[in-house]
């Protein structure tokens, strides 16, 4: 997902003023994925939301100390959100990988059994024991089951987490915090 362009950035203007503009856009991008991603089938949107969370987290990690105190809390919350979305994404990558792997094993076994049947009228089920991957299918099926169920568990946890953020006013409080300026006495060493 390409990041939305941030208008009005000025290299010679104060860091906090530029960072405020960037955070506003990145926060809006992140929050814009709801309610779409409440649908567990929206895998691509969920992946894009993870990228949006990552972008917001990085700008907050760097420039959070310029803003009001809630920016620091929001940095941690954004990281937690990114982690939750990352774990779901891992499942979304691993589920099809495991499916493809299972399919490869099935195909290889079918080819081997076809060859083993030679000129038989029909396939003898007893030949299944000779299939090269006969011992492998159960473990791969268990993995697929685990990954699918884990994805559902993690998705439920993500919805709960987002619900908490909404109830606690994550967006409004961060928007307020980035309008504040931290009272920093000394300029950094160059």
């Amino acid at each position: 997902m390409k990041a939305r362009k941030v208008p009005g950035l000025d290299p010679d203007a104060p860091l906090a003023d530029n960072a405020e503009r960037i955070v506003r856009v990145r926060l809006d991008e992140l929050c814009g994925f709801m309610p779409l991603v409440a649908d567990p089938e929206e895998i691509v949107a969920l992946h894009d939301m993870r990228i949006a969370a990552k972008r917001l987290r990085y700008i907050l990690e760097i420039t959070g100390p310029c803003f009001g105190p809630y920016a620091s809390t929001a940095t941690k919350l954004t990281k937690d959100l990114q982690d939750a979305l990352g774990e779901i994404h891992d499942c979304d990558v691993q589920v099809p990988e495991a499916e493809r792997f299972a399919e490869r094993l099935l195909t290889a076994d079918a080819v081997a059994l076809h060859a083993a049947a030679e000129d038989a009228e029909d396939l003898d089920p007893a030949l299944l024991k000779q299939a090269p991957h006969a011992r492998d299918h159960a473990g791969v099926a268990a993995l697929q089951t685990h990954l699918r169920a884990r994805r559902q568990v993690l998705f439920d946890r993500f919805l709960e987490l987002w619900g908490t953020y909404e109830r606690k006013g994550f967006r409004a409080r961060l928007e307020y915090a980035i309008g504040e300026r931290a009272d920093v006495a000394a300029e950094p060493h160059r």
Binding site: A3, A13, E97, F101, L105
Partner: protein
């Protein structure tokens, strides 16, 4: 995982000066992690370098308007390519680790298939390592380290003052 250095920032310092300072720190962190990154026996090395590459990419994007655009685009492209190569190595590392943990929870009879999948991923890991080795070589040939520092220096340089407007010609008497 190696923690990124905390970098002091102040609200009023110029955006481009903060950018220069932060890019220097994140560049140093990236190259500090390059040593031993091709060792598949130590998966933390590649993880640390990958995280450092992501952080560097993020600061380049955050401070993009502070850099000369012609140089910036090429540097960002190279950093992205390096991050992708690190990902090609890291992704199978993570997956293998997760599968080993999962396998321990299975009854013995069900472990064969997972072990087979781990073997498959180890082949991918080896290919990822070859790709990463080539990318590290390419990064050196293209002088990425020096180009990143040059970008930071450019952001730290005061802009050329606007030339005074030409005095208007005296009207002819």
């Amino acid at each position: 995982m190696a923690k990124a250095a905390d970098i002091d920032v102040t609200p009023r310092e110029p955006y481009r000066r903060a950018g220069a300072r932060i890019v220097r720190v994140r560049t140093r962190e990236l190259f500090d992690h390059a040593e031993g990154v091709l060792d598949t026996g130590d998966i933390e090395g590649v993880h640390d370098m990958r995280v450092a590459s992501r952080r560097l990419r993020a600061v380049l994007e955050i401070f993009a308007p502070c850099f000369p655009q012609s140089e910036f685009k090429g540097v960002l492209r190279d950093v992205k390519q390096l991050a992708d190569a690190l990902g090609e190595r890291r992704d199978p590392d993570v997956h293998i680790d997760a599968l080993r943990t999962f396998s321990r929870s299975l009854v013995a009879a069900n472990r064969h298939g997972v072990a087979r999948m781990i073997e498959d991923l180890e082949e991918r890991q080896a290919r990822g390592n070859e790709l990463l080795a080539a990318e590290l070589e390419r990064m050196q040939q293209r002088g990425l380290h020096g180009r990143l520092l040059a970008l930071a220096d450019a952001a730290d340089t005061d802009p050329e003052p606007e030339p005074d407007p030409e005095p208007e010609a005296e009207p002819a008497a």
